[in-house]
Structure formats: C-alpha cells, structure tokens
Symmetry: C2
Subunit: 114 residues, 2 copies
C-alpha cells in the first residue's frame, strides 16, 4: 500500500487556457501504478475557476471544502464541502470558486483521459 | 451533471463477514451511469473495521476525517483525515477505526469489481 498526506503532494499550477487560480496534486496516479483511474486534488483560489471545456471522459468529484458554482449544459448550480458531483462524458462543464476561502476538491478521471 | 450531498445518500450497513460497525453510501455508482469506476463512502464506528480480505481490484481511498489503522501485507500503518491510501490489486488489506470519533473515507473501485 501507499499512504500519502495530500498536502505533502507537490502542487502544480494548472496552465491550461481558461484556468485561473487553480493548482493540481496527483494523489494517486500513473507513478503509483494505478491501473484504472486517477485521483487528483484541485485547489481553486477565491474567484478562480477551471476551464469551461468538454471531453470524452467523466469526472467524479468530491468537494472537500469551500463553495463552488458548477456550470454545465444543465445550468449553474452551487456545491459545497461534503457534496459529490458527477459530470458525465461529453458534457461541457466548469468549476468556479464562489466563496471567500480556498475551494478544495478531489476529481477522479479514468486512466485513458487526456 | 448530478450533485448530491453525501450525507443525504442512503447509508447501508455492511453485512460482509469480518465487517464491524461499517456503513456504505454509493455516492457515484451504476445508477448514475458512471462508466468506469465508482465512488463510495464508508463510515466506520470507533473500534470498527472493514473485513481483512483480498481481491483482484484496487482501492483508491481518501480519508475525510478520523483516525485509521491500515493493515496490509506491508504491515500496519496509521492514516488520518487528509491522507490518501492506494491499495493495489491482490494485496490483502483492512481498515480499522483507531480513534474515538467516526472514521469517514471515500473508497473508489473500478466498475468491474465485486
């Protein structure tokens, strides 16, 4: 087994077009020989957001803390610490930090994503 | 998209042999049409534990709160809120609540598990 303190995992700035104030930590990933899916943690600064984009794979998200607005083709809905969010494949989406504190969330994707 | 408050998802007692004081919530699962992997939340009462068992699929775990002892062939190691745990396929393992408060953790598995 591997046990890691998430805060000790290196945080990298997300430089993708459309991202603002976002870092990513690869908690359980390729280097761990995870065979099917990957666990990442995103921290989003107040006012920051992920890109508004669409792709062929799903997101399974768990909000650890903070307040989000989640935009998709369904509309914009609030989500907060303790909520889980499922974005199915091919649905455009964007996460925005709508609060005054850092938004922290897990976002898991299948191995063959991006 | 789907957004759920994890605490609102039905908790079912885990009746598997060797489980004690454990409930499971299917946060993102088959009924959500999750195509590749499933997000479950386990709550373990103080002194409770999951079964000591082994299977052909991995666990990707994130400890939400509480104090765990994680046993595997590697030995027994502590894990607490904010830690992630990777149990690779075919490694025997067991999670025990070693604290005085409820242990809450996400445990994700591939779709074709169990």
């Amino acid at each position: 087994m591997k046990i890691k303190k998430a805060d000790d995992v290196e945080a990298r700035a997300v430089e993708t077009d459309g991202a603002d104030g976002v870092t990513i930590r690869l908690l359980i990933h390729e280097t761990d020989a995870a065979p099917n899916f990957y666990m990442r943690q995103f921290n989003i600064a107040p006012g920051g957001h992920t890109p508004r984009h669409v792709h062929a794979w799903e997101h399974e998200v768990y909000i650890l803390c903070g307040s989000a607005l989640v935009w998709s083709a369904d509309g914009e809905r609030p989500a907060a610490g303790g909520d889980c969010v499922f974005i199915p494949p091919n649905e455009e989406h964007q996460f925005t930090n709508a609060g005054d504190d850092e938004l922290k969330m897990l976002c898991l994707v299948p191995k063959d994503s991006g």
